[in-house]
Symmetry: C2
Subunit: 483 residues, 2 copies
């Protein structure tokens, strides 16, 4: 069977909305507040599996989970001047309790640097307590004026993992930025999500940061999606809160901080990148159901019952091994209808069992990504399922990585860069002198966005000229049409 990817590639946006609703992952567009959706049971389980993985990676590197209030008073949020400038037009404000006006407006947190720094100033007095690495997984809110999109641009981002760390020195915080980058690499690698890592340009760093490092991926429509950011906050927030600690040398000084976050977008990518016209192919690491068993009725009731019992047995064998398996024993719909549903839900493996399989004591296993089938003896089913899930992980990752690499282009002059971007080429790298003015001009001319300087590849630019000013280039700069 040839895998068709027409709808997935050409009408990605419609495909994505269709999958989220039809596969009962995320109900979007019907809830009567713009930019807010509902995680339905199946989607919630995908989300839980993703959360479980990031929790594991954070816990094993000494991060501690906490939970802060959703509301931040206006004066607290406004303490750090650059920070509030970056957010003030995007904040939802609570102004009333019952019929009373509140004394002070309360923000629905857009992010928690201010709340956390304020509380750290009570908790942390000395370098001996450092480093401290906190994180929380919460909803954050943005009063987006741009068009909203399910999981990708929301007014309630309901799966925001924000980490906040605090250190004695600038260098310690810089090392923490590196640790965060390496944690996110492991996270995306495990999920088979390809990415590029760039240092965001000065004009696009986080509001209140020294510098920002970002993970970006490319969606099926060739637009780039930011999927993770890591910020060195320096002393911006600790100074704003006049929060000093005792240092090793006995002096008092403002500690240094970092913060880093990922969101629902990771889940959007997991649904989007491995897809075809039948729906998504869920990565085995996060698929809530790894295998669906579909019994195919025989020519009489007796055979049919035997087939259904055999299917049930296979389900029990797999579940007993911790491989979450569903046996779809609904007798009111046809196997074909079942294929449709479970393909739409992206279950990695399907086991078909009919009279022939029953007779021969075998099962037919089909991969959701390639639709390749393989007949294996019953006593090999566990081994083969485990094996195929591992192969699928590797294949999905390789395929997605290849797609990403194919969409990174180089251009040494402006016209070419513009043309590539207009042709939806993906990410375009151009030589750059390093001046902000040239970078901003680039964005204007190409009507694209600067992602920043590549941190995951070394390019020799000694023979290259800045595409804008023609002076000696210092860096490659990544540009893309973004979400």
């Amino acid at each position: 069977m040839k895998v068709s990817r027409e709808k997935w590639e050409k009408n990605f946006s419609e495909w994505f909305d269709w999958v989220l609703r039809e596969a009962e992952i995320y109900d979007y567009g019907r809830y009567p507040v713009k930019g807010m959706g509902i995680w339905m049971p199946y989607g919630f389980k995908i989300r839980q599996n993703v959360i479980q993985l990031i929790r594991k990676l954070l816990d094993e590197t000494g991060h501690e989970e906490v939970l802060f209030p959703i509301l931040i008073p206006e004066d607290l949020l406004k303490k750090e001047t650059e920070h509030i400038k970056g957010f003030e037009n995007e904040v939802f404000w609570v102004t009333k309790g019952g019929s009373e006006d509140l004394d002070i407006k309360l923000a629905l947190r857009p992010t928690s640097e201010t709340a956390i720094t304020y509380m750290e100033s009570f908790w942390i007095k000395s370098y001996k307590q450092l480093p401290k690495k906190y994180y929380q997984i919460v909803s954050v809110f943005r009063y987006e004026t741009k068009a909203t999109r399910p999981m990708i641009r929301l007014r309630e981002v309901s799966t925001f993992k924000e980490a906040h760390t605090i250190h004695e020195t600038y260098e310690d915080a810089a090392r923490q930025v590196e640790e965060a980058v390496s944690i996110y690499k492991k996270f995306f690698d495990e999920l088979g999500i390809p990415y590029v890592i760039s240092q965001r340009p000065d004009w696009d760093k986080f509001a209140g940061a020294e510098y920002t490092i970002a993970f970006d991926t490319i969606m099926p429509d060739s637009r780039v999606l930011q999927i993770g950011t890591v910020h060195h906050l320096g002393q911006h927030f600790t100074k704003a809160f006049d929060f000093k600690i005792q240092k090793k040398d006995g002096s008092l000084d403002y500690p240094h901080q970092t913060s880093y976050g990922i969101s629902d977008r990771v889940i959007a990518v997991l649904i989007a990148i491995n897809g075809d016209d039948h729906g998504p192919v869920l990565h085995p690491s996060i698929a809530p159901i790894k295998v669906v068993v579909i019994p195919i009725p025989g020519k009489d009731e007796d055979i049919t019952n035997k087939v259904f019992n055999y299917a049930k047995e296979i389900g029990e064998i797999l579940n007993a091994q911790g491989i979450t398996t569903v046996v779809d024993d609904n007798k009111e719909i046809t196997p074909g209808e079942k294929y449709y549903i479970w393909e739409l839900k992206g279950v990695p493996l399907r086991i078909e069992i009919g009279p022939r399989e029953l007779n021969e004591n075998v099962v037919l296993i089909k991969r959701r990504d390639t639709f390749e089938g393989k007949t294996v003896p019953k006593d090999k089913v566990v081994e083969e399922v485990k094996n195929l899930l591992e192969i699928m992980k590797a294949d999905l990752k390789a395929r997605a990585s290849q797609l990403l690499r194919d969409r990174i282009k180089r251009a040494e002059d402006l016209e070419e860069a513009k043309k590539l971007l207009e042709a939806k080429a993906g990410i375009v790298e151009v030589p750059w002198c390093g001046d902000n003015s040239c970078g901003l001009k680039l964005e204007e001319i190409t009507n694209a966005r600067v992602l920043g300087i590549p941190l995951d590849e070394k390019v020799d630019v000694s023979n290259m000229k800045c595409v804008v000013c023609k002076r000696q280039a210092k860096y490659m700069l990544r540009l893309a049409k973004t979400y």
Copy 2:
């Protein structure tokens, strides 16, 4: 060692605030929004363990976890008239996005019946899809005008587990109420939390319910705390949303619903009920750390190092068996200081290891609840720790249950009831004719609250008279000073 419970019993409120902050469970009173606190890492882990247990009990009874938006538009919240009457003075309202006024006010959800019913009307068309049992674990908000208290009366209730179910008939929903009661019984039993179950009087049922069943417990200060409620919602919400389904007989009708919830209060009770002047005794089911190992230095460095290595080895043995154990190998503080900290954190078992234990190849295990010590050979440590944790569970539960039973009194006349309540007796049961007017008078006269009719005991009231009107009694009625 005699266990002192002076502070715990006589100054419970101070004791509780002290424990939450000093044991780094929940930071309350410093965050600059009234009624909102921070779950710190240690408290967060206790919370996670409680959440894990309720998830398990709900998942295994066919409940599906979902996640709805935090914001509910005013018109949606106001659909059910009684419901909004019950909540309208307690709702936080978002009225602004950035500097713009919103078209319609958005409520921070006080509870989610309206949002969920609205979405169910899209999802559910036929009796064939029923029953459906959804739940979510989220923050809910109440603009409380009463005095707030950490975990007990909050403006942001950050651990609200709300279940919402939907059924074809009234009777199906009534059976679901019974299932919910049995789930909560299992939950509280596993946690060793004693309770009484009462049907709330008409004037105190949930806003929009047919009837409400509540779980109450008694805190160390003898005041009663509601820790769980189960509501039969009938067709109140489905009618308000004009939401009909196809029934088995082919007709269209409004489905019936239930909802039931528990909150942070469960965690408050877990910290409160098993306590003494050293702090709480965490129930082994939810203690993030089951065992702390404390090495006691010897007369020289060599012995001390050997003791510390032995302590480390014991920690490894226990952790390898899945018994979360911390070895406190800090050399800058004394064993006495360590005892203070870990008692305050309520760790169920402490293992003391000194030169004598090293020599004899034994360990000394002390229970946090009784401070009883037991010396056991090293090769029996796992077995003995497991054994002691089970014994502690049983003992804590028995002790807490006894405390509850000792605080349930009967009174056959009004004066006696009043006296008992003023003397902080706990729960007082009185015979009642069943008329609301007599019930309300009772509350007024005794300055206490009616908990409702006991559902967990049968009392023959045929020879009793209502304490207010002196007519024949129909029920016993529970009264208490409540939180």
